[in-house]
Amino acid sequence: MNYGPLLFLAAFAAMSASWFGFVIGPQAQLGRQQPAAMLGSPVTYPANRSGEARQGLQIYRANGCVECHSQQVRQTGTKLIVQLVELGTNQPALAATLKRELPSLPEAELTRAMEKLPAALLTTSARPDADVLMKAIAAAGGKCSLQIVPVGPDLERGWGKRRTVAGDFLYDSPVLPGYQRMGPDLANVGARNPDLNWQLCHLFWPRSEVAGSGMPACEFLFEKLPLGAVRSPDALVFPAGTDPVPGFQVIPTPAARSLAAYLLSLRADAPLFEAPFSAPAVAATSTNAPAVAPGSTNAPAPAAGTPPANPPKTS
């Protein structure tokens, strides 16, 4: 190692390897990604965000929202639920099959399941188990459906329906999946709380919406005007008793509006080939619902304003 050129070439080779591996490689694979059809639907995902939301991403970047918020839902595994949907014509044969295939299920429960359809028969994380049962039921003339439910603490918190995948960021620049969660994950904040006024009030004075929130107030995104005779139609409507600036009306600037539009556009909840799911969101029965601990997350009541979930069934 006493020759300058040799030293240079050695380091050059190491550098090139890493560069081709982690700069050119991912670019060749991910850089060409195209929108793909959603599971069970011809609609492609993702759609580009609206112009206002794309401007909002720049406000998000400029103000360093990424310092405290991630946009990446993690998933630890998948739960498979086999549901009996139809009994078919040969019920005794079906009952015998179920008794054989599910020896651990008490007979009383089996009878109840066959009386009240659809009924969940098996919850497992192993696909082969589910397949065996479904084949047996089909052979006995019954009909069943398989539900795929992603699981993990992030999902149980109501932060999403499935894990985040590369495709969720297809049209974003910069791509900011985040690295720290001082605040809750935002990958699905638009699905969690689609109320524009809530988002704007929360940006202006987070503690008016979420008691005890540690988020810095973004007053610089708003104009504060004395409450005159005419109230602006754009003025924020704070929840009763929490108006942080009594006697004033708070008008969002265009920057605040676009940031809120961006937040509302954050909903990575399409079922995809690489991240399938087919059950109503776990959030519907999530444990951080306000009933348990009011204001435990920045999430509002889970179902508020969410469009009815209509999950496509696989198989």
Binding site: L7, Q29, L30, P174, L176, Q180, S296
Partner: protein
């Protein structure tokens, strides 16, 4: 001045017959190296103040909420980039220039170019950090300086590195001391990763998630390759110099060199990243090799300082020892958090911030302080280091770092474990972390005071050097006048 004893092991101490005297080498480095160090110290102080302001936001969410430029999301990246681009890189350049000259036994070539480059670099930093506060940050950690600053930084770096490369080319020694390998690799590593990141993230941004992968790659290569290479170059030079022992093993240093180049350059992709699985898997395997790197560095350093014969520069040695200890801690924290079962807990928590701070400040900046306290008396040509102030700097920085990162690491683990249980309220978990951050704020305050001592220490040299220069000029002028008078009469 504490000149290293002749028995000292590095090649610089036993120069080839044609080599130039050490004092002349040091004099040739004086202006660029002092300029880089003093500007770096000023940025470091500014960055610590920004970091302190950012930290107050964690306790008072309505603090300065009317000022967009002083929000947490702008102060925090500005303070991080001031530490990285304001201090770490200029310090690395200054140490590099001096080592290239000293270990090559040749005066610095084109010092003017290096000064010009450093000025450009500082201009880029000023625009960049101002740009972050104005809302032009790129959004990528460790790469937040806006594109217009990037061009200036790159131009500045290239000018400095031309001077460094020419100095290396004109070296008068045949055996390369290990530090030189590290410095040569680092010399072109930074422009390569920086241009790649500028090109693919700012100039012509690539599509989708590839951006995030490139941003992770860049941040890893800056903090875990470039800073390791230059920091270890300083460690392997300073430990023998300050203890008077020979470097334990040249082959071990070679092993470390290769491990850093070949494996560390592949780390940095989080295990849970939403990208094709081969990317985080490769990264995981490469990160595990850091365990060998850490133990190799630890062995080389421990064997070198085994019996400090008679410490030459105890102040420097203290900083370097702390730096090596931090290197080991940061390396182990990285290896442990690379396992998917652990990263499921530590990802997205304060743990990552703690690890970065131990690596960048605890390892690199502390080693750089040691190197700067070793180099500055030599390039200035006189010793006026106040041992008390140096000691105060060391203790304030060390205690500040510990107070900053221990609560962060504890908060990170606490958050990670509790986030795994969806029954626990997120707001409560994050409030627990904010409580711990009060200790961190005290730590940052201590770091701010330490950096003030550092700047004062360096400024005494600048004032001393300029006074000497003025006196020398004045006496030269007097001599000239007397001469002229003598001729006339």
């Amino acid at each position: 001045m504490n000149e290293p004893r002749p028995s000292s092991p590095s090649p610089a101490a036993t120069p080839a017959p044609t080599a130039c005297p050490v004092a002349a080498i040091d004099r040739s480095c004086r202006l660029p190296v002092l300029f880089l160090f003093v500007s770096g110290a000023a940025w470091l102080l500014a960055g610590s103040v920004l970091s302190l302001l950012a930290s107050i936001h964690l306790h008072a969410p309505n603090f300065l909420s009317h000022r967009a430029a002083l929000g947490y999301g702008r102060l925090q990246p500005a303070s991080q980039e001031a530490l990285l681009y304001g201090f770490c890189l200029p310090a690395a350049m200054g140490i590099g220039l001096w080592l290239f000259a000293r270990l090559g036994s040749t005066p610095l070539v084109q010092p003017g170019l290096a000064i010009f480059g450093s000025a450009f670099w500082n201009l880029g930093c000023a625009f960049g950090i101002g740009g972050i506060l104005a809302g032009d940050a790129t959004g990528f950690a460790a790469f937040n300086l806006p594109g217009y600053a990037g061009g200036m930084l790159l131009a500045g770096y290239l000018l400095v590195s031309i001077s460094a490369a020419l100095t290396f080319h004109q070296r008068k020694v045949t055996t390369l001391f290990p530090s030189l390998w590290f410095l040569v690799a680092a010399l072109f590593w930074f422009p390569w990763i920086f241009t790649s990141a500028q090109l693919f993230l700012v100039v012509a941004p690539v599509r989708g998630m590839a951006q995030a992968v490139i941003a992770w790659w860049y941040a890893n290569n800056l903090q875990n390759v470039y800073l390791w290479l230059t920091g270890l170059a300083a460690v392997f030079y300073l430990l023998p110099k300050t203890t008077g022992n020979a470097l334990y093993s040249r082959n071990l240093a070679l092993l470390v060199f290769w491990l850093v180049l070949v494996f560390s350059s592949w780390g940095g992709i989080p295990a849970s990243a939403p990208v094709p699985a081969w990317i985080p898997t490769l990264s995981l395997v490469a990160t595990l090799v850091s365990l060998v790197t850490v133990f190799a560095v630890l062995t080389a350093c421990r064997r070198t300082v085994r019996r400090p014969a008679a410490p030459v520069a105890p102040a420097s040695l203290r900083f370097v020892r702390f730096g090596v200890a931090s290197f080991v801690v940061a390396g182990l924290m990285q290896v442990v958090a690379a396992f998917p079962c652990v990263s499921a807990i530590t990802d997205f928590t304060w743990y990552g911030a703690a690890r970065t701070q131990i690596n960048v400040f605890g390892f690199f900046a502390m080693v750089a302080f040691g190197a700067i306290y070793f180099i500055v008396p030599r390039v200035a040509g006189f010793e006026c280091l106040c041992p008390k102030r140096t000691k105060a700097h060391f203790w304030l920085a060390a205690v500040g770092l510990v107070l900053t990162v221990v609560p962060e690491a504890v908060a990170g683990l606490n958050e990670g474990l509790k986030l795994g249980d969806a029954n626990l309220s997120f707001l409560q978990i994050s409030a627990d972390s904010f409580h711990l951050m009060r200790v961190s704020t005290l730590g940052i305050l201590s770091v701010v005071l330490g950096q003030a001592f550092f700047l004062v220490n360096l400024l005494t040299y600048v004032i001393g050097t300029s006074r000497k220069w003025v006196l020398a000029e004045a006496s030269a002028a007097t001599t000239d006048r007397l001469k002229t008078a003598g001729v006339n009469s």
